[in-house]
């Protein structure tokens, strides 16, 4: 058997070189096509945002991002993100713990339901929240009784963002915790750790990178969500305008440089997100090889 293999290898010694030459050509063509495709669709648009933003000089740029409407939009976006990401993180950890650590009926269904917001158009997400919390909806009259306004105000924007970004953390954690298994946690509990101790000392260190990854994805989407927020916000300047909505208004008013200036801020955040993601992956790879 072993000699057979050696023989076979010997037989093909000249053949691989022929194959190699051919793949060199295909390799070059494929890499070139890929570069062209990604340039047209990804790289050029990204560079273009910054070119457009500074087209009329840095004076216009800084004026666009420091006027009061822009600052209000930035503040509201930060507020929405600061509420949404932690809540979705708690949900994500709870859902991942439930799904990976226990057996129960309807688990598959629950998994599909968690993924549901990804399959629903953001506009529909906004619409159903309007129906639910609106004046004619089920909850609307109840909330207005207590003087709480949900539609066309910050709580509505927060709920819409929560809807759209709900699956991110859970989705990243479930495969990580599945692969981890539950032996370490069982050991901690049987050695007398409390539930909280087990979570902080065993679970959290094991899932921290997956958790961080899910959180930055959730964060990126929360900052950029447009459709759902657009339906529910009422687009009141300085009141319910998030950064993406502010970009839309400026663009529709033909203030292109200002629109691209605010857009460039969000693009910087997107680049930061991608960098953190690459760093997490690089760490994970290093851990694997170490």
């Amino acid at each position: 058997m072993a000699t057979d293999l050696v023989k076979n290898e010997g037989k093909h010694i000249h053949k691989p070189t022929a194959v190699k030459k051919e793949t060199n050509w295909t390799k070059r063509i494929l890499i070139t096509v890929m570069f062209l495709y990604l340039s047209i669709f990804l790289l050029v648009p990204l560079v273009y945002i910054f070119v457009k933003a500074f087209e009329q000089g840095s004076g216009v740029y800084f004026a666009a991002i420091t006027n009061s409407d822009a600052l209000d939009a930035i503040k509201l976006t930060l507020l929405v993100t600061l509420i949404t990401v932690p809540l979705n993180t708690v949900f994500g950890i709870a859902a991942a713990w439930l799904i990976t650590r226990f057996q129960f009926k309807g688990k598959q269904l629950l998994l599909s339901l968690i993924e549901l917001p990804f399959a629903v158009s953001p506009v529909i997400a906004g619409l159903v929240l309007v129906l639910f919390f609106g004046p004619r909806g089920v909850m609307g009259p109840l909330f207005s009784e207590f003087g709480i306004k949900i539609l066309f105000s910050t709580p509505g924007i927060v709920i819409a963002t929560m809807f759209v970004t709900l699956p991110f953390v859970a989705r990243e954690l479930i495969p990580v915790m599945q692969a981890q298994g539950k032996a370490e946690e069982e050991a901690a509990i049987s050695l007398g750790a409390s539930g909280w101790q087990m979570f902080v000392r065993v679970t959290l260190p094991n899932i921290k990178w997956g958790l961080l990854y899910g959180m930055i994805l959730c964060n990126a989407r929360a900052i950029g969500e447009f459709g759902a927020v657009s339906v529910i916000s009422g687009r009141i300047r300085g009141m319910t305008n998030t950064m993406p909505l502010h970009v839309e208004i400026l663009y529709n008013e033909y203030q292109f440089s200002a629109a691209f200036a605010v857009a460039s801020l969000m693009s910087l955040l997107a680049i930061l997100t991608l960098t953190i993601k690459a760093w997490i992956e690089w760490r994970a790879e290093k851990q694997l090889t170490a």
Binding site: V44, V90, F104, P117, L274
Partner: protein, 279 residues
């Protein structure tokens, strides 16, 4: 059975996490979503059919489905190619390119929308070349497709990449030593392995494409009976306070999305089975 029972009791938090998960999911997603079916039932069957089969709405569905389908198809072809290049070849700047693939996930859709619109406008950086060929991109269905290609780009690449990494070199080497050509190895050995994930990626990109709003409305131009997409029809009806009409359109889209989800789930089951067979 007994072991299972014991294990169940060891780890804490079943009640707590079950409570948090179902409560949160119900309040934020499930109960509001159920409103779609309650609200659209107010129209009655006749009224419902009337809304969703009006010329303007039908045309919006057609545009949404066609552009989402073409974009997903383009992404399937090029996504497969990009995944192949990233997994099989090494070249300078590979890490950077690999990181850049996720840009559409990280970049706000409205930002992508305004950038693509001005780039592909008649006198834009890219649009001017199409103008030379007498092709209009922005404010046509072609423009909508461009936006959806951007949005759907990562889906296929990210699903194919790990599968391609896991295909064992030995299988290809075996095929090669048995006299298969490169082309035969690809079509008979590699492609069948990739097919389930390729279809999953396609469906994900398609499902995302039908619902996409932010990146599309800028480049679409939103002319009724021409470049109006289904999500925009919902917006329009809402602005006229026609809640029932908006909901009827949404109900049809939701049914299509659910069908997509079911198909994706079946495909993933198929690909798991595939993996087990090949092991």
């Amino acid at each position: 059975m007994k072991r299972k029972q014991r294990k169940k009791n060891v780890l804490p938090g079943f009640g707590l996490t079950m409570g948090i998960t179902t409560m949160y999911l119900s309040i934020i997603v499930l109960i509001p979503l159920s409103m779609v079916f309650i609200e659209s039932s107010k129209l009655g069957w006749q009224g419902f059919i009337e809304v969703v089969t009006s010329d303007r709405v039908l045309h919006a569905y057609k545009i949404s489905f066609l552009t989402a389908f073409s974009a997903a198809l383009i992404n399937a072809v090029f996504g497969l190619m990009i995944a192949w290049v990233l997994v099989r070849y090494s070249f300078p700047g590979k890490r950077l390119i690999d990181g850049l693939i996720d840009l559409p996930f990280a970049l706000p859709t409205a930002v992508a929308g305004i950038a693509l619109t001005t780039l592909y406008a008649e006198d834009g950086w890219i649009g001017q070349f199409f103008t030379l060929l007498n092709i209009k991109v922005a404010f046509t269905p072609l423009g909508i497709t461009v936006a959806l290609v951007f949005i759907g780009l990562p889906f296929v690449v990210r699903i194919i990449q790990p599968v391609l990494e896991n295909i064992e070199k030995e299988v290809e080497e075996a095929a090669s030593s048995l006299g298969a050509t490169k082309k035969q190895i690809f079509t008979k050995v590699i492609f069948p392995e990739l097919l389930p994930s390729l279809l999953t990626g396609f469906s994900l990109a398609f499902a995302r494409g039908i619902g996409e709003y932010g990146s599309v409305i800028f480049i679409a131009g939103n002319m009724p009976m021409n470049t109006e997409i289904a999500p925009l029809m919902i917006m329009t009806k809402l602005e006229q306070f026609d809640y029932a009409g908006a909901t009827a359109i949404a109900a049809v889209m939701l049914v299509v999305s659910f069908l997509c989800l079911i198909i994706i789930n079946l495909l993933q089951k198929w690909s798991r089975k595939h993996e087990m067979q090949s092991e």
